[in-house]
Symmetry: C2
Subunit: 198 residues, 2 copies
Amino acid sequence: MTTERKPRKDAARNREAVLAAADALFAREGSPDDVTMADVAAAAGVGKATLFRAFGDRPGLLRALYEARLAPVREAIESGPPPLGPATPPRERVPALLDAVLCFKLDNRRLAVALEESGTNSPYQAAHYQRWHGLLRGVLEQVPGLPDGDFAAHALLAAVRADLVEHLAGRERMPRERMRERLAEFTARVLGTAPGTG
Amino acid sequence: MTTERKPRKDAARNREAVLAAADALFAREGSPDDVTMADVAAAAGVGKATLFRAFGDRPGLLRALYEARLAPVREAIESGPPPLGPATPPRERVPALLDAVLCFKLDNRRLAVALEESGTNSPYQAAHYQRWHGLLRGVLEQVPGLPDGDFAAHALLAAVRADLVEHLAGRERMPRERMRERLAEFTARVLGTAPGTG
DNA sequence: TTGCAAAGCGGACCCCGGGTCCGTATCGTT
DNA sequence: AACGATACGGACCCGGGGTCCGCTTTGCAA
């Protein structure tokens, strides 16, 4: 087993400072890649090496920020009450999950875009995507009449990809509630629960 | 009006050489961004400046390659016979369009990925995306019972995004015909023409 | 054919951002 | 207080996109 030593307290403090600074910068700046690593280091009042030692590389920093923000949502999904929690019947849980993802991306647009475009490789290898996909796929496969949960999960998640959300909400100024509504309609159609279909 | 002068013939020749070289390199290399502009210039037997003069910047080169490959498909869509051409009834044309996009991306995976990730800004501002979306949206809105063609068009196109296609076809080795089938099923569900729904 | 702009060429060069090195400062333990 | 381990920081390196400018080629015209 890999014995995890606990970090020195200045290290921990710096780590927090960096996270806070990065958070603020991404919120403030227009485009994610206008924020350079040197910027973050400077804003945190820290040397570049400290930053890289703490997070490995740029994607590492983004991931850390992302996971921190995502934690409450994960919690709600893994052990919360319906309609997000595991006790929810599949037909209701699927739209709830997608809505949660959408809302999360709406609330963290810049960050989500930065993360998706940061890796040198596709977002589909990212651990958090694999988790979302695995979960959604599992729930979809409990819905009778859905022939292929795997592809459907990918396709539904594609509809809430960060850059699409950013495009619609940011560039096209589509209101939040409208987007949620459209996504719900779309999901319902895929599930075969659409009003017009019956 | 902007008077377009015709280029000198060595310029034209070089332009072709660059396109051919880039094409070959993207096909050969594993990852799109392993191919540098300098590589392309060298492979084409041309100076870097020539390359940049001809195409502006890296995205410009990618776009040129992409448009060239895309031309026959556009042709088939704009003035070809059914099921792609304009004479096709909407309910058949939507899946045909998506299938065409999917096949195109399968045949030009590397290039499509490179293009989507190349721009400093999202792929949703790219002219070719706007065209696909506008077209699909228009067709969708001719289908009765579809409340929102705009979002549905985005969502359906998201299901055939280059990196997803690359992930499924490349990394996960999903066979071509299987992908087409899954996409067709998914599309049918959205359109309300799925076998399980009726 | 030769003259001569203008258009084009090429590769050395610049810029800038991610990532590293290593001498110095801090921590925390004895 | 002292000393090893751990962390700090900013100068530094590297590699890739994009530009500059002195030289070559083209094509028109005399």
